[in-house]
Symmetry: C2
Subunit: 152 residues, 2 copies
DNA sequence: CTCCAGTAATTGACGTGTCAACTATGAAGC
DNA sequence: GCTTCATAGTTGACACGTCAATTACTGGAG
């Protein structure tokens, strides 16, 4: 028949928008709390987390980009901002003169230490504790299904 | 006991990150398709959608901000960019000299028309069709639960 | 050794988003 | 009328992100 449905129904669209907007609101609240508690942005947190887990709290720039899942350009811009604020430093790489090694500065380590517990608590409060165990499982399965579809 | 868990488990944290990153990836793909198909950003689409649904395809600026759920400042910046590209125009308001009326320009109407079906198809393909009906329902309930928790 | 394709990282231009400050008008109370 | 406060909207400064171009070095083919 003409007009065979390839488009979402009104209800499906409502759920999509709800899903989208709720995710955005949640990210915004978590970001605001992190900022208020420690002055870090989610990007700062991701970088400092990766550095904290690394040997000697330092990583080659490209590797860091892979760890946080960013393009190198994005990382470079972000590191510039973090360096200005004294959260990290960039040093030359001994084994490859093109390369840069990103090092956690003392202020960065300190800020990360201060951030981690409140941030995890906030995730627990606003995500984990907001859902039933079944919903948490379902959220994981939904994410997996969506990610699977994106790989096409 | 000391250390009674207030923090998410490893598994809960994994699901949270998956949920977060998958949402981001999905938004990025939808935005890229919209851009490729019609040159519109998601913001452009939201504005043009609201205008399309309005009487005479025009809305007072503040009302538009409420419709799309943005701060007025954000809307103002975005309208400036859209105006430069000929998607909308801004005109004086007859009943309030402070006010501005945002009007859909011909190019805006055309771009929105061209965008809507492909965009809805993409939502169906990447969201609706990627999930089972039960998962769609669950996604709606998860969004509702998270939103409820945010209202505190 | 020399050339050159590939890699590491940065840069500049620009779109996007927030916050705080500002302009200008409306509206209420006196 | 006039002061005062609220409202409409814009602006500037800056954080964040993408893309394309650029710089500088590496490493292999000849």
């Amino acid at each position: 028949m003409p007009g065979t449905r390839k488009l979402p129904t009104r209800e499906e669209l409502r759920i999509w928008r709800d899903f989208l907007e709720t995710g955005e609101a949640l990210r915004n609240v978590l970001a605001a709390r992190l900022q208020a508690d420690t002055g870090l942005s989610p990007g700062d947190y991701a970088v400092l987390l990766a550095l904290s887990e690394a040997e000697g709290n330092q990583v080659r720039s490209s590797e860091l980009a892979a760890l946080v899942g960013w393009e190198r350009s994005r990382l470079s811009h972000h590191l510039g901002r973090m360096e200005r604020r004294g959260l990290i430093t960039r040093e030359e790489c001994a084994t490859d003169s093109r390369g840069a090694v990103v090092v956690q500065a003392p202020a960065g380590a300190e800020a990360f230490q201060a951030a981690t517990v409140p941030h995890l608590r906030a995730i627990r409060e606003l995500f984990v504790d907001a859902l039933t165990p079944a919903q948490i499982t379902a959220a994981g399965e939904i994410a997996a299904a969506l990610r699977q579809r994106l790989r096409d």
